[in-house]
Protein backbone atom coordinates (compact mmCIF):
# COMPACT_ATOMS: atom_id res chain seq x y z
CA UNK A 1 0.00 0.00 0.00
CA UNK A 2 2.89 2.38 0.65
CA UNK A 3 3.99 1.88 -2.96
CA UNK A 4 0.57 2.92 -4.14
CA UNK A 5 0.68 6.03 -1.96
CA UNK A 6 4.01 6.99 -3.52
CA UNK A 7 2.81 6.34 -7.10
CA UNK A 8 -0.54 8.07 -6.73
CA UNK A 9 0.50 11.73 -7.16
CA UNK A 10 2.43 11.04 -10.44
CA UNK A 11 -0.44 8.92 -11.77
CA UNK A 12 -2.91 11.62 -10.76
CA UNK A 13 -1.12 14.40 -12.70
CA UNK A 14 -0.70 12.21 -15.78
CA UNK A 15 -4.39 11.37 -15.70
CA UNK A 16 -5.23 15.05 -15.61
CA UNK A 17 -2.88 15.71 -18.53
CA UNK A 18 -4.45 12.88 -20.54
CA UNK A 19 -7.93 14.19 -19.87
CA UNK A 20 -6.92 17.69 -20.94
CA UNK A 21 -5.09 16.44 -24.01
CA UNK A 22 -8.21 14.52 -25.00
CA UNK A 23 -9.90 17.88 -25.29
CA UNK A 24 -7.18 19.36 -27.44
CA UNK A 25 -5.10 21.09 -24.77
CA UNK A 26 -1.75 21.76 -26.41
CA UNK A 27 0.06 22.35 -23.15
CA UNK A 28 -1.12 19.04 -21.73
CA UNK A 29 -0.11 17.17 -24.88
CA UNK A 30 3.31 18.84 -24.82
CA UNK A 31 3.72 17.76 -21.20
CA UNK A 32 2.83 14.18 -22.10
CA UNK A 33 5.42 14.32 -24.88
CA UNK A 34 8.07 15.49 -22.40
CA UNK A 35 7.17 12.73 -19.97
CA UNK A 36 7.37 9.92 -22.51
CA UNK A 37 9.63 11.07 -25.36
CA UNK A 38 12.85 9.43 -24.15
CA UNK A 39 11.34 6.05 -23.61
CA UNK A 40 9.53 6.07 -26.96
CA UNK A 41 12.58 7.36 -28.82
CA UNK A 42 14.93 4.85 -27.16
CA UNK A 43 12.59 2.06 -28.14
CA UNK A 44 12.50 3.27 -31.76
CA UNK A 45 16.28 3.71 -31.84
CA UNK A 46 17.01 0.26 -30.43
CA UNK A 47 14.63 -1.29 -32.91
CA UNK A 48 15.90 0.55 -36.00
CA UNK A 49 19.54 1.28 -35.11
CA UNK A 50 19.21 4.53 -37.02
CA UNK A 51 18.66 7.99 -35.45
CA UNK A 52 16.85 9.50 -38.43
CA UNK A 53 14.43 6.59 -38.67
CA UNK A 54 13.98 6.59 -34.91
CA UNK A 55 13.08 10.30 -34.91
CA UNK A 56 10.60 9.80 -37.75
CA UNK A 57 8.99 6.91 -35.91
CA UNK A 58 8.86 8.89 -32.67
CA UNK A 59 7.06 11.70 -34.49
CA UNK A 60 4.66 9.24 -36.05
CA UNK A 61 3.97 7.58 -32.70
CA UNK A 62 3.08 10.88 -31.03
CA UNK A 63 0.99 12.05 -33.97
CA UNK A 64 -0.94 8.79 -33.75
CA UNK A 65 -1.22 9.35 -30.03
CA UNK A 66 -2.85 12.71 -30.66
CA UNK A 67 -5.28 11.22 -33.17
CA UNK A 68 -6.19 8.26 -30.95
CA UNK A 69 -5.98 9.69 -27.46
CA UNK A 70 -9.74 10.17 -27.26
CA UNK A 71 -10.09 6.37 -27.46
CA UNK A 72 -8.03 5.84 -24.31
CA UNK A 73 -10.44 4.58 -21.66
CA UNK A 74 -8.08 3.89 -18.81
CA UNK A 75 -8.30 0.10 -18.99
CA UNK A 76 -4.52 0.02 -18.74
CA UNK A 77 -1.89 2.46 -17.58
CA UNK A 78 -1.46 5.30 -20.05
CA UNK A 79 2.25 4.57 -20.50
CA UNK A 80 1.48 0.95 -21.38
CA UNK A 81 -1.14 2.08 -23.91
CA UNK A 82 1.23 4.62 -25.44
CA UNK A 83 4.07 2.17 -25.71
CA UNK A 84 1.80 -0.36 -27.33
CA UNK A 85 0.98 2.24 -29.91
CA UNK A 86 4.70 2.99 -30.39
CA UNK A 87 5.53 -0.72 -30.72
CA UNK A 88 2.89 -1.06 -33.44
CA UNK A 89 4.30 1.95 -35.31
CA UNK A 90 7.78 0.40 -35.19
CA UNK A 91 6.67 -3.06 -36.23
CA UNK A 92 4.59 -1.63 -39.11
CA UNK A 93 7.65 0.25 -40.29
CA UNK A 94 9.84 -2.84 -40.12
CA UNK A 95 7.21 -4.87 -41.95
CA UNK A 96 7.24 -2.38 -44.81
CA UNK A 97 10.99 -2.69 -45.04
CA UNK A 98 11.08 -6.49 -44.95
CA UNK A 99 7.64 -7.79 -45.92
CA UNK A 100 7.94 -11.28 -44.48
CA UNK A 101 8.26 -10.01 -40.93
CA UNK A 102 6.19 -11.19 -38.02
CA UNK A 103 2.58 -10.30 -37.38
CA UNK A 104 1.91 -7.23 -35.30
CA UNK A 105 -0.37 -9.01 -32.91
CA UNK A 106 1.84 -11.69 -31.49
CA UNK A 107 5.42 -12.55 -31.00
CA UNK A 108 5.61 -15.15 -33.69
CA UNK A 109 6.72 -18.52 -32.45
CA UNK A 110 7.60 -19.53 -35.99
CA UNK A 111 10.82 -17.57 -35.38
CA UNK A 112 11.82 -20.37 -33.04
CA UNK A 113 14.83 -22.15 -34.43
CA UNK A 114 17.28 -24.33 -32.61
CA UNK A 115 19.51 -22.07 -30.57
CA UNK A 116 23.15 -22.99 -30.82
CA UNK A 117 24.71 -24.03 -27.58
CA UNK A 118 28.40 -23.30 -27.84
CA UNK A 119 29.82 -24.64 -24.64
CA UNK A 120 32.96 -22.60 -24.25
CA UNK A 121 35.39 -22.75 -21.41
CA UNK A 122 36.19 -20.12 -18.86
CA UNK A 123 38.53 -18.16 -21.11
CA UNK A 124 35.83 -17.82 -23.73
CA UNK A 125 33.26 -16.15 -21.55
CA UNK A 126 31.84 -12.78 -22.51
CA UNK A 127 32.48 -11.15 -19.18
CA UNK A 128 34.03 -7.77 -19.75
CA UNK A 129 33.67 -7.81 -23.51
CA UNK A 130 30.02 -6.78 -23.85
CA UNK A 131 30.39 -3.11 -24.71
CA UNK A 132 27.61 -0.84 -25.87
CA UNK A 133 28.59 -0.84 -29.53
CA UNK A 134 28.89 -4.62 -29.73
CA UNK A 135 25.59 -5.06 -27.99
CA UNK A 136 23.86 -2.52 -30.26
CA UNK A 137 25.10 -4.40 -33.32
CA UNK A 138 23.99 -7.69 -31.87
CA UNK A 139 20.55 -6.34 -31.05
CA UNK A 140 20.17 -4.94 -34.57
CA UNK A 141 20.78 -8.43 -35.92
CA UNK A 142 18.05 -10.08 -33.89
CA UNK A 143 14.74 -10.97 -35.55
CA UNK A 144 12.26 -8.16 -34.78
CA UNK A 145 10.10 -10.17 -32.38
CA UNK A 146 13.04 -11.21 -30.21
CA UNK A 147 14.51 -7.74 -30.53
CA UNK A 148 11.33 -6.09 -29.30
CA UNK A 149 11.00 -8.28 -26.22
CA UNK A 150 14.69 -7.89 -25.34
CA UNK A 151 14.60 -4.12 -25.79
CA UNK A 152 11.40 -3.73 -23.80
CA UNK A 153 12.54 -5.96 -20.93
CA UNK A 154 16.31 -5.81 -20.51
CA UNK A 155 16.91 -2.27 -21.77
CA UNK A 156 13.72 -0.35 -21.17
CA UNK A 157 12.88 -2.18 -17.96
CA UNK A 158 9.30 -3.24 -18.69
CA UNK A 159 8.00 -6.17 -16.70
CA UNK A 160 6.65 -9.24 -18.44
CA UNK A 161 3.03 -8.47 -17.65
CA UNK A 162 3.47 -5.05 -19.27
CA UNK A 163 5.18 -6.57 -22.30
CA UNK A 164 2.37 -9.11 -22.60
CA UNK A 165 -0.11 -6.25 -22.73
CA UNK A 166 1.97 -4.24 -25.19
CA UNK A 167 2.70 -7.18 -27.46
CA UNK A 168 -0.65 -8.96 -27.05
CA UNK A 169 0.98 -12.15 -25.97
CA UNK A 170 1.05 -14.15 -22.78
CA UNK A 171 3.58 -13.58 -20.03
CA UNK A 172 4.88 -17.08 -20.62
CA UNK A 173 5.48 -16.21 -24.26
CA UNK A 174 7.29 -13.02 -23.30
CA UNK A 175 9.59 -14.91 -20.92
CA UNK A 176 10.32 -17.60 -23.46
CA UNK A 177 11.09 -15.10 -26.25
CA UNK A 178 13.35 -13.12 -23.93
CA UNK A 179 15.35 -16.19 -23.04
CA UNK A 180 15.79 -17.11 -26.69
CA UNK A 181 16.75 -13.53 -27.54
CA UNK A 182 19.45 -13.57 -24.88
CA UNK A 183 20.84 -16.86 -26.13
CA UNK A 184 20.88 -15.56 -29.70
CA UNK A 185 22.67 -12.39 -28.61
CA UNK A 186 25.21 -14.46 -26.75
CA UNK A 187 25.87 -16.57 -29.82
CA UNK A 188 26.24 -13.47 -32.02
CA UNK A 189 28.63 -11.79 -29.62
CA UNK A 190 30.78 -14.86 -29.26
CA UNK A 191 31.00 -15.37 -33.02
CA UNK A 192 31.35 -11.79 -34.21
CA UNK A 193 33.08 -9.76 -31.55
CA UNK A 194 35.94 -12.08 -30.70
CA UNK A 195 35.91 -14.70 -28.04
CA UNK A 196 39.48 -14.25 -26.96
CA UNK A 197 42.22 -11.72 -27.29
CA UNK A 198 44.37 -12.87 -30.29
CA UNK A 199 47.52 -14.75 -29.27
CA UNK A 200 46.23 -16.03 -25.97
CA UNK A 201 46.42 -19.78 -25.63
CA UNK A 202 43.36 -21.80 -24.88
CA UNK A 203 43.64 -22.62 -21.23
CA UNK A 204 41.33 -25.43 -20.47
CA UNK A 205 41.39 -28.66 -18.62
CA UNK A 206 38.51 -29.87 -20.73
CA UNK A 207 39.93 -29.81 -24.23
CA UNK A 208 37.55 -30.81 -26.99
CA UNK A 209 37.87 -34.35 -28.18
CA UNK A 210 36.72 -35.91 -31.36
CA UNK A 211 33.29 -37.46 -31.27
Amino acid sequence: MSQQKTAAPKAASETQLVARAQHGDEEAFAALFEMHKRRVYSLCLRMTGNTAEAEDLTQEAFLQLYRKISTFRGESAFSTWLHRLAVNVVLMHLRKKVPQQISLDEVDSSQDEPVKRDYGDNDRRLMGSVDRISLSRAIADLPPGYRMVFVLHDIEGYEHNEIAEIMSCSVGNSKSQLHKARLKLRDWLRQNEGLMTPGEPVVSDQAPTER
Binding site: M1, S2, Q3, E159, H160, N161, A164, S170, V171, G172
Partner: protein, 300 residues
Protein backbone atom coordinates in the same frame (compact mmCIF):
# COMPACT_ATOMS: atom_id res chain seq x y z
CA UNK B 1 -21.47 -60.21 -56.76
CA UNK B 2 -24.28 -58.71 -54.69
CA UNK B 3 -22.90 -60.70 -51.68
CA UNK B 4 -19.49 -59.23 -52.26
CA UNK B 5 -20.82 -55.72 -52.45
CA UNK B 6 -22.74 -56.33 -49.23
CA UNK B 7 -19.57 -57.54 -47.57
CA UNK B 8 -17.70 -54.53 -48.85
CA UNK B 9 -20.41 -52.29 -47.50
CA UNK B 10 -20.25 -54.07 -44.18
CA UNK B 11 -16.48 -53.72 -44.01
CA UNK B 12 -16.75 -50.05 -44.82
CA UNK B 13 -19.36 -49.65 -42.13
CA UNK B 14 -17.19 -51.38 -39.56
CA UNK B 15 -14.21 -49.29 -40.59
CA UNK B 16 -16.23 -46.12 -40.30
CA UNK B 17 -17.59 -47.23 -36.97
CA UNK B 18 -14.07 -48.01 -35.76
CA UNK B 19 -12.80 -44.63 -36.91
CA UNK B 20 -15.69 -42.92 -35.25
CA UNK B 21 -15.00 -44.75 -32.01
CA UNK B 22 -11.35 -43.73 -32.11
CA UNK B 23 -12.29 -40.12 -32.69
CA UNK B 24 -14.85 -40.28 -29.90
CA UNK B 25 -12.34 -41.78 -27.46
CA UNK B 26 -9.77 -39.20 -28.47
CA UNK B 27 -12.21 -36.37 -27.86
CA UNK B 28 -13.32 -37.89 -24.58
CA UNK B 29 -9.78 -38.24 -23.29
CA UNK B 30 -9.10 -34.68 -24.38
CA UNK B 31 -12.15 -33.51 -22.51
CA UNK B 32 -11.12 -35.43 -19.42
CA UNK B 33 -7.64 -33.99 -19.59
CA UNK B 34 -9.05 -30.53 -20.02
CA UNK B 35 -11.33 -31.01 -17.05
CA UNK B 36 -8.49 -32.19 -14.88
CA UNK B 37 -7.05 -29.21 -13.00
CA UNK B 38 -3.39 -28.36 -13.51
CA UNK B 39 -1.35 -27.96 -10.32
CA UNK B 40 1.97 -26.17 -10.18
CA UNK B 41 4.46 -25.33 -7.51
CA UNK B 42 7.15 -22.67 -7.52
CA UNK B 43 9.61 -21.47 -4.93
CA UNK B 44 11.42 -18.14 -4.95
CA UNK B 45 14.22 -16.85 -2.79
CA UNK B 46 13.01 -13.64 -1.14
CA UNK B 47 14.13 -10.79 1.08
CA UNK B 48 12.76 -10.80 4.66
CA UNK B 49 10.10 -8.17 3.77
CA UNK B 50 9.02 -8.77 0.19
CA UNK B 51 5.84 -7.38 -1.31
CA UNK B 52 3.68 -10.17 -2.67
CA UNK B 53 0.62 -9.38 -4.77
CA UNK B 54 -2.01 -11.83 -5.93
CA UNK B 55 -4.56 -10.81 -8.55
CA UNK B 56 -7.23 -13.42 -9.08
CA UNK B 57 -10.87 -13.65 -10.19
CA UNK B 58 -12.29 -16.57 -8.25
CA UNK B 59 -10.97 -19.38 -6.13
CA UNK B 60 -9.43 -19.77 -2.72
CA UNK B 61 -6.32 -17.94 -1.65
CA UNK B 62 -4.48 -19.09 1.46
CA UNK B 63 -1.39 -17.28 2.72
CA UNK B 64 0.70 -18.44 5.70
CA UNK B 65 3.79 -16.94 7.19
CA UNK B 66 6.81 -19.12 7.76
CA UNK B 67 10.36 -18.66 8.96
CA UNK B 68 12.13 -19.20 5.63
CA UNK B 69 13.44 -16.47 3.33
CA UNK B 70 11.44 -17.98 0.51
CA UNK B 71 8.05 -17.64 -1.10
CA UNK B 72 6.50 -20.98 -2.01
CA UNK B 73 3.47 -20.87 -4.27
CA UNK B 74 1.24 -23.81 -5.08
CA UNK B 75 -1.57 -23.03 -7.47
CA UNK B 76 -4.09 -25.00 -9.44
CA UNK B 77 -6.42 -23.98 -12.24
CA UNK B 78 -9.57 -25.66 -13.44
CA UNK B 79 -9.40 -24.70 -17.09
CA UNK B 80 -6.48 -24.97 -19.53
CA UNK B 81 -7.54 -21.52 -20.69
CA UNK B 82 -6.38 -20.03 -17.42
CA UNK B 83 -2.74 -19.52 -16.61
CA UNK B 84 -0.95 -18.03 -13.65
CA UNK B 85 1.73 -15.51 -14.49
CA UNK B 86 4.52 -15.04 -12.00
CA UNK B 87 6.89 -12.14 -11.99
CA UNK B 88 9.86 -11.77 -9.69
CA UNK B 89 11.68 -8.49 -9.21
CA UNK B 90 14.62 -8.43 -9.33
CA UNK B 91 15.18 -11.73 -11.12
CA UNK B 92 18.00 -13.98 -10.04
CA UNK B 93 18.36 -12.33 -6.62
CA UNK B 94 16.26 -12.60 -3.47
CA UNK B 95 12.95 -11.10 -4.55
CA UNK B 96 11.73 -7.72 -3.33
CA UNK B 97 8.47 -8.07 -5.23
CA UNK B 98 6.57 -11.10 -6.44
CA UNK B 99 3.45 -10.67 -8.56
CA UNK B 100 1.06 -13.56 -9.11
CA UNK B 101 -1.64 -12.87 -11.66
CA UNK B 102 -4.37 -15.16 -12.91
CA UNK B 103 -4.54 -14.62 -16.64
CA UNK B 104 -7.54 -15.65 -18.77
CA UNK B 105 -6.29 -16.81 -22.13
CA UNK B 106 -9.85 -17.01 -23.43
CA UNK B 107 -11.94 -13.96 -22.49
CA UNK B 108 -15.13 -15.96 -23.07
CA UNK B 109 -14.65 -18.40 -20.20
CA UNK B 110 -16.73 -17.58 -17.18
CA UNK B 111 -17.90 -18.75 -13.80
CA UNK B 112 -16.13 -21.68 -12.19
CA UNK B 113 -13.89 -22.12 -15.24
CA UNK B 114 -12.05 -18.98 -14.16
CA UNK B 115 -11.09 -20.60 -10.86
CA UNK B 116 -7.52 -20.51 -9.69
CA UNK B 117 -6.69 -21.64 -6.15
CA UNK B 118 -3.53 -20.46 -4.47
CA UNK B 119 -1.65 -21.59 -1.41
CA UNK B 120 1.31 -19.43 -0.44
CA UNK B 121 3.95 -19.70 2.24
CA UNK B 122 5.75 -16.42 2.67
CA UNK B 123 8.29 -14.84 5.02
CA UNK B 124 6.65 -13.51 8.17
CA UNK B 125 7.54 -9.92 7.29
CA UNK B 126 5.80 -10.03 3.93
CA UNK B 127 3.66 -7.10 2.77
CA UNK B 128 0.63 -8.46 1.03
CA UNK B 129 -1.84 -7.20 -1.52
CA UNK B 130 -4.68 -9.45 -2.65
CA UNK B 131 -7.53 -8.86 -5.07
CA UNK B 132 -9.92 -11.79 -5.32
CA UNK B 133 -13.35 -10.45 -6.23
CA UNK B 134 -15.31 -13.69 -6.28
CA UNK B 135 -13.20 -15.90 -4.09
CA UNK B 136 -12.26 -16.29 -0.45
CA UNK B 137 -9.04 -15.22 1.20
CA UNK B 138 -7.41 -16.63 4.31
CA UNK B 139 -4.26 -15.22 5.90
CA UNK B 140 -2.43 -16.72 8.85
CA UNK B 141 0.55 -15.64 10.87
CA UNK B 142 2.01 -12.60 9.17
CA UNK B 143 3.92 -9.69 10.69
CA UNK B 144 4.48 -7.41 7.73
CA UNK B 145 4.11 -3.65 7.67
CA UNK B 146 0.85 -3.81 5.79
CA UNK B 147 -1.61 -6.11 4.10
CA UNK B 148 -4.51 -5.19 1.89
CA UNK B 149 -7.25 -7.60 0.85
CA UNK B 150 -10.16 -6.69 -1.38
CA UNK B 151 -13.03 -8.81 -2.54
CA UNK B 152 -16.48 -8.24 -3.89
CA UNK B 153 -18.40 -11.33 -2.82
CA UNK B 154 -15.72 -13.39 -1.15
CA UNK B 155 -15.17 -13.97 2.56
CA UNK B 156 -11.97 -12.85 4.25
CA UNK B 157 -10.46 -14.57 7.29
CA UNK B 158 -7.28 -13.31 8.91
CA UNK B 159 -5.70 -14.80 12.01
CA UNK B 160 -2.61 -13.85 14.01
CA UNK B 161 -1.71 -10.88 11.89
CA UNK B 162 0.47 -8.01 13.12
CA UNK B 163 0.71 -4.79 11.15
CA UNK B 164 -1.59 -2.45 9.26
CA UNK B 165 -4.46 -4.47 7.83
CA UNK B 166 -6.93 -3.09 5.29
CA UNK B 167 -9.84 -5.37 4.43
CA UNK B 168 -12.76 -4.67 2.16
CA UNK B 169 -15.46 -6.97 0.86
CA UNK B 170 -18.60 -5.52 -0.68
CA UNK B 171 -20.78 -8.50 0.17
CA UNK B 172 -18.54 -10.99 1.90
CA UNK B 173 -18.07 -11.61 5.63
CA UNK B 174 -14.85 -10.55 7.31
CA UNK B 175 -13.43 -12.38 10.29
CA UNK B 176 -10.33 -11.40 12.27
CA UNK B 177 -8.81 -13.53 14.97
CA UNK B 178 -6.13 -12.14 17.24
CA UNK B 179 -5.08 -9.23 15.03
CA UNK B 180 -2.50 -6.80 16.30
CA UNK B 181 -1.45 -3.39 15.00
CA UNK B 182 -4.01 -1.32 13.08
CA UNK B 183 -7.09 -2.68 11.37
CA UNK B 184 -9.61 -1.27 8.91
CA UNK B 185 -12.46 -3.55 7.87
CA UNK B 186 -15.29 -2.50 5.57
CA UNK B 187 -18.26 -4.28 4.12
CA UNK B 188 -21.67 -3.23 2.83
CA UNK B 189 -23.77 -6.34 3.38
CA UNK B 190 -21.25 -8.66 5.02
CA UNK B 191 -20.82 -9.42 8.73
CA UNK B 192 -17.73 -8.37 10.64
CA UNK B 193 -16.40 -10.64 13.36
CA UNK B 194 -13.51 -9.80 15.68
CA UNK B 195 -12.02 -12.24 18.16
CA UNK B 196 -9.43 -11.22 20.73
CA UNK B 197 -7.95 -8.24 18.93
CA UNK B 198 -4.98 -6.46 20.49
CA UNK B 199 -4.89 -3.67 17.96
CA UNK B 200 -4.03 -0.10 18.83
CA UNK B 201 -6.60 1.12 16.31
CA UNK B 202 -9.62 -0.58 14.79
CA UNK B 203 -12.11 0.86 12.29
CA UNK B 204 -14.97 -1.29 11.09
CA UNK B 205 -18.14 -0.43 9.22
CA UNK B 206 -20.92 -2.42 7.67
CA UNK B 207 -24.23 -1.22 6.31
CA UNK B 208 -26.64 -4.13 6.64
CA UNK B 209 -24.30 -6.74 8.07
CA UNK B 210 -23.79 -7.48 11.77
CA UNK B 211 -20.79 -6.88 13.97
CA UNK B 212 -19.55 -9.34 16.61
CA UNK B 213 -16.73 -8.34 18.87
CA UNK B 214 -15.33 -10.71 21.49
CA UNK B 215 -12.34 -9.60 23.44
CA UNK B 216 -10.63 -7.03 25.54
CA UNK B 217 -9.77 -3.44 24.67
CA UNK B 218 -6.00 -2.95 25.14
CA UNK B 219 -4.81 0.13 27.00
CA UNK B 220 -4.67 3.16 24.72
CA UNK B 221 -6.66 1.40 22.02
CA UNK B 222 -9.01 3.37 19.74
CA UNK B 223 -11.95 1.31 18.47
CA UNK B 224 -14.70 2.59 16.16
CA UNK B 225 -17.44 0.23 15.04
CA UNK B 226 -20.42 1.19 12.91
CA UNK B 227 -23.31 -0.99 11.74
CA UNK B 228 -26.06 0.93 9.96
CA UNK B 229 -28.97 -1.48 10.31
CA UNK B 230 -27.35 -4.68 11.49
CA UNK B 231 -27.02 -5.53 15.17
CA UNK B 232 -23.78 -5.07 17.05
CA UNK B 233 -22.72 -7.43 19.86
CA UNK B 234 -19.80 -6.53 22.06
CA UNK B 235 -18.64 -9.19 24.51
CA UNK B 236 -15.75 -8.17 26.73
CA UNK B 237 -14.14 -9.38 29.98
CA UNK B 238 -14.82 -7.71 33.33
CA UNK B 239 -11.23 -6.42 33.29
CA UNK B 240 -11.73 -4.35 30.12
CA UNK B 241 -10.96 -0.71 30.83
CA UNK B 242 -12.56 1.64 28.34
CA UNK B 243 -14.41 4.84 27.72
CA UNK B 244 -17.59 4.21 25.77
CA UNK B 245 -19.32 6.54 23.31
CA UNK B 246 -22.33 4.75 21.87
CA UNK B 247 -25.14 6.23 19.85
CA UNK B 248 -27.89 5.16 17.54
CA UNK B 249 -30.60 7.05 15.67
CA UNK B 250 -33.46 4.58 15.86
CA UNK B 251 -31.89 1.44 17.24
CA UNK B 252 -31.65 0.17 20.81
CA UNK B 253 -28.78 0.42 23.22
CA UNK B 254 -28.45 -2.47 25.67
CA UNK B 255 -25.63 -2.29 28.18
CA UNK B 256 -24.83 -4.91 30.79
CA UNK B 257 -21.42 -3.58 31.85
CA UNK B 258 -21.24 -1.59 35.03
CA UNK B 259 -20.30 1.92 33.98
CA UNK B 260 -19.81 5.35 35.31
CA UNK B 261 -22.22 7.25 33.14
CA UNK B 262 -20.99 10.59 31.81
CA UNK B 263 -24.21 11.39 29.99
CA UNK B 264 -27.23 9.38 28.98
CA UNK B 265 -29.92 10.96 26.88
CA UNK B 266 -32.66 10.33 24.41
CA UNK B 267 -33.06 13.95 23.62
CA UNK B 268 -36.09 14.99 21.56
CA UNK B 269 -33.88 17.34 19.57
CA UNK B 270 -31.81 14.59 18.02
CA UNK B 271 -33.85 11.47 18.75
CA UNK B 272 -30.55 9.76 19.25
CA UNK B 273 -30.18 7.02 21.78
CA UNK B 274 -26.78 7.50 23.28
CA UNK B 275 -24.60 6.25 26.10
CA UNK B 276 -21.40 7.88 27.25
CA UNK B 277 -19.71 6.09 30.09
CA UNK B 278 -16.52 4.75 31.55
CA UNK B 279 -15.78 1.18 32.59
CA UNK B 280 -13.05 0.90 35.21
CA UNK B 281 -10.39 3.54 34.40
CA UNK B 282 -11.28 4.15 30.74
CA UNK B 283 -7.87 3.35 29.24
CA UNK B 284 -9.18 2.56 25.78
CA UNK B 285 -11.69 4.51 23.66
CA UNK B 286 -14.64 2.67 22.14
CA UNK B 287 -17.03 4.40 19.71
CA UNK B 288 -20.11 2.46 18.65
CA UNK B 289 -22.66 3.75 16.16
CA UNK B 290 -25.75 2.52 14.39
CA UNK B 291 -28.76 3.95 12.62
CA UNK B 292 -31.36 1.29 13.32
CA UNK B 293 -29.37 -1.68 14.54
CA UNK B 294 -29.30 -2.74 18.20
CA UNK B 295 -26.05 -2.20 20.07
CA UNK B 296 -25.44 -4.71 22.91
CA UNK B 297 -22.53 -4.51 25.30
CA UNK B 298 -22.20 -7.58 27.49
CA UNK B 299 -19.77 -8.93 30.00
CA UNK B 300 -18.04 -12.24 29.30
Amino acid sequence: MPDQSKQTEKKRGVTLYGQGLVVYLFLLSGALLAADGARSEKTFEATPNPRVTVTNMTGQILVRGWDKAQVRVVYSVVSPHVEVDTEVIPPNQPADKIHLITHLLDPLISGKDQTADYSLEVPMGTNLEIWNPQGSVRIEKLQGDDASVESVGGAILVSDFTGHLFLRSVGGNIELIRPSGRVEAYSITGDLHFVSPTTSKLRATTTSGRIFFEGDFPDGGDYSLSAYSGDMDILCPPSASFELNAKTVRGKLVNEMPMTIRRRSATPVSSANSLFGTHLTGKATVNLKSFSGTIRIRQR
